[in-house]
């Protein structure tokens, strides 16, 4: 009897927990993510930083969807193929050989927003924050993923290219 009581209570507790977890919320990004997405540039105007950002995004094959200088925003998007053709062909061939329908991730749409902000304490110092996200579709055209990109190398590569572009912009100016 007591066991049944505790079991019932446990089930009730778990279902309540389920309710709490399923409630939608907008959690702020963690400090690690913020650090991963943010860099600081000294002795540079916001315009130069935004121009350099647009140049880098163009070099990376993005199309600029939105740019707003008063608010320091650049948003861009590009379509890209997932993985290489050989791997995908091998997986699909394996599926055919096994007699099962197989689909593999095929196309993705990557979007990025870059936002600049002046650092109040220091003149001519700006913070820049980039956020990448992607949607992925398989060979059947079904969306398999819709998520933020957290891979370190993506942000490191982007900011390395941006540093070079900023240097070029400053040299040319």
């Amino acid at each position: 009897m007591i066991q049944a009581y505790w079991s019932g209570l446990l089930i009730l507790g778990l279902s309540l927990l389920g309710c709490i977890q399923s409630s939608p919320s907008l959690p702020a990004t963690t400090l690690e993510t913020r650090a991963q997405q943010t860099r600081q540039f000294n002795n540079i105007s916001e315009t130069t930083l935004l121009t350099a950002t647009i140049a880098v995004l163009q070099d990376l094959g993005y199309t600029i969807e939105e740019s707003n200088k008063p608010l320091g925003i650049v948003t861009a998007a590009k379509r890209a193929t997932v993985g290489n053709a050989g791997e995908k062909f091998a997986l699909l061939a394996l599926g055919v050989a096994a007699g099962v329908h197989t689909s593999v991730e095929h196309q993705q749409l990557i979007r990025v927003t870059v936002v600049t902000q002046a650092t109040p304490a220091r003149a001519h110092t700006h913070q820049i924050r980039a956020t990448f996200q992607h949607e992925v579709w398989d060979t059947d055209g079904k969306r398999t993923r819709a998520e933020p990109i957290h891979r370190d190398s993506v942000y490191q590569d982007f900011f390395a290219k941006l540093s070079q572009a900023v240097f070029l912009e400053q040299t040319l100016a």
Binding site: P24, L26, P27, E65, P70, L71, I73, T131
Partner: protein
Amino acid sequence: MKLRCIILCCCAGLLWGCLDPSHQAAHSENSLELRQLQTRAYDTTDRIKIARAIVATLQDLGFIIDRADMELGTISGTRLDGRTLKATVTLRLRGKRALVRLNVNRDHRTMTDPNLYQDFFIALDKSLFLVAMQVD
């Protein structure tokens, strides 16, 4: 017989009106409570400062900024977390206050969960260092 036909036609007409989904194009089930939940007033008239804080807040909450129009005071963003979440923030000056309103949609349906709106305004308050007031 004629009267029966007329009644039947009227009933059919009424039912047709109920079934026709197009009437929802200019109709919303959003209540006054939801509007209050979506709106805050800030004691500032600095539009750029508030708009920049809104952009920073949306980005910190994982949104990509789709559009920002300072002339009309609208900023829209998209957040991907398995599904697509769309947010639109409007900014209007009223006297010495700035009214900020957030709408969140998932799969083109308005989200009515208070947590979403509270999370956004808590983050925006922190970003602005201002205390928001609820608007009636």
